[in-house]
């Protein structure tokens, strides 16, 4: 282990390290890359298996063959014939879009009030938001189900969508953290111009907080798109209101476990999210970083 004998760090950086160190660094880099490649293959393998199975015939899917022969692209069409996938997709979009809209509409004002306006009880309210964040939703499920049953809304998408229009703890938290980083000068400038608080929120803050808002919208959409538990509770007995996740989980039992079709359906359900990811990669990664680093 070479100990640095040169006093200036900058000079150290500028000088080429000795051959032994360079060789060690090279080997380490190779090892690092090899590990990454192995891990990458392991991560990609399931996708490959799913895709291959989705192209097999039913008999092949049940046998020990790994490669489809022939390639049955027909499977993807068959999925739509055998199950009302489009209806499921429609239900999913209704749920996801309305819920996301609700989250944005209700959480942005709350986050603003918690971050940029001073009022008594603000810290208490924020504390309550944090506590709500830590509540496992499983805990509140029973009384809420009773409530929705009494209101006659079980079986529809109402119990899924409506709560999102009354604030979502996670989104409030995220937005508040971000709003707090907005320099007061922007807001003061607007105030001096004669803007009311609501106007400031609508114009200045929204524009400055676009990455955070995009992140919240993205997460909300993803979360509701992937949601299984709530639709299971409320729409399981009503096939006309099934979302994609419920439909997929029941798909194998609707059609006597044809694994090739089930895998094709699985791919179809995964596809939208992955496509959205590739289109909005930057927003995705920024958003995820936001939650972790600001959290």
């Amino acid at each position: 282990m070479t100990t640095a004998s040169v006093p200036v760090a900058a000079a150290l950086a500028r000088r080429k390290p000795p051959a032994s160190v360079r060789r060690r660094r090279f080997l380490l880099a190779v090892a690092n890359h090899s590990l990454l490649i192995v891990a990458g293959i392991a991560f990609l393998a399931p996708f490959v298996f799913i895709a291959l199975t989705a192209l097999m015939t039913n008999g092949q899917a049940l046998s020990s063959h790994l490669w489809p022969n022939p390639f049955r692209w027909q499977n993807f069409v068959d999925v739509f014939h055998q199950a009302p996938v489009l209806r499921w997709a429609l239900n999913t979009m209704i749920y996801a879009c309305l819920a996301t809209l609700g989250v944005l509409v209700s959480s942005i004002p709350v986050a603003y009030a918690l971050s940029r306006i001073r009022w008594r009880g603000r810290n208490v309210a924020f504390g309550l938001v944090l506590i709500a964040l830590m509540l496992p939703p499983v805990v509140s499920v029973v009384p809420l189900y009773v409530m929705w049953a009494k209101l006659g809304l079980v079986g529809g998408l109402g119990p899924l969508i409506i709560p999102n229009w009354f604030g979502d703890a996670f989104s409030i938290f995220l937005l508040r953290q971000f709003f707090m980083t907005i320099p007061e000068e922007y807001l003061d400038a607007a105030r001096v111009d004669g803007c009311g608080e609501l106007r400031i929120l609508a114009t200045v803050v929204l524009r400055l907080a676009k990455p955070a808002i995009a992140a919240v919208a993205l997460f909300s959409f993803l979360y509701t798109f992937n949601d299984f538990f709530l639709p299971l509770l409320y729409t399981r007995e009503n096939p006309s209101r099934w979302v994609l996740q419920i439909g997929l989980s029941e798909f194998r039992s609707l059609h006597q476990v044809q694994w090739n079709l089930t895998m094709a359906a699985t791919l179809l359900v995964m596809a939208p999210v992955i496509i959205v990811f590739f289109l909005a990669q930057k927003a995705f990664v920024e958003g995820v970083t936001l939650t972790g680093v600001k959290g």
Binding site: L36, V105, S106, P136, V139, Y145, M147, G167, L248, T289
Partner: protein, 332 residues
Amino acid sequence: MTGLTVRAERSAPLDRTRARRKAAWRRRRLVLLLMTPWLIGFSVFFGYPLVMSVYLSFTHYDLLSSPKWIGTANYRYLFTQDPQVGAAVRNTLWIIAVMVPLQVVFACGVALMLARARRGVGLFRTIFYLPALAPPVAATLAFVYILNPATGPVNILLQHLGINGPLWFQSTSWSKPSLVLLGLWGVGNTMIIFLAAILDVPRHLYESAELDGAGPLQRLRWVTLPTISPVILFSVVIGVIAGLQYFTQAYVAANVASGQASQAGDQTVNNLGYPEDSTLFYPVLLYQHGFRYFNMGYASAMSVMLLVVAFTITLLIIRNSRRWVHYVGAAK
């Protein structure tokens, strides 16, 4: 709603107080307007269920007739007589104790490798993140198929290598590890957060460590890890909360692996927790009692206990964290 109006100079101090009070009123009205949706939401979707859960936990309620008060009978059954609660609690604790550390270590490890890599970082990042995007239902279905002991690709490949693959989701000892594998496949989110935090570590810390003679392992132990410890804490807390609510993957895996096509329309055998209650987690058991048997009173008792445990564990972790988490000042 406009800003401040300027008044004519009559009695300055009184006007100022009046103006200030008016402004304060307007501010309060504004806050009320902004906070109302959340206030309603909090009381209806958080406060009310909490109170009702406690109330219902002391009743027998099947939604067909009104709740019948039975005192602590539900809790007594929960703690002493329910034959499945022991398994459910053990399994949930297992998944927290095993999956959370594994996920954090794995995510951190992959992030460290990515941080060091020179070429193809974007591609690798995408590859590692993609599975986290897969909907849990789809991912679980895929894994149950892939890990099918007889016809799944994994066991077939192992066969070619001469290894007799385990029974994965069909075995009581391998079903939970199979779920852990599924969980590790989806660490993309956590990995990205770790990657960002690792790349954020100030370079001068590494340089001064190197000057002091620290090797790469020591730099990792004394510079990197402490600096990203807030992120580690965050991941652990999130992981524990997720573990306490672990439902979807267990439910779908048990249903699919047990191979019972509900096409027959019949489900005389409850296959949640297949095989032999090894995938029965506390939320799954709660669902079974509340929404299969419709014993809502008993399910409420279960949910009250879950709440107590969740709070306690989270508080313990956060309090314990003060010992090992360093908040580096002036971070971004």
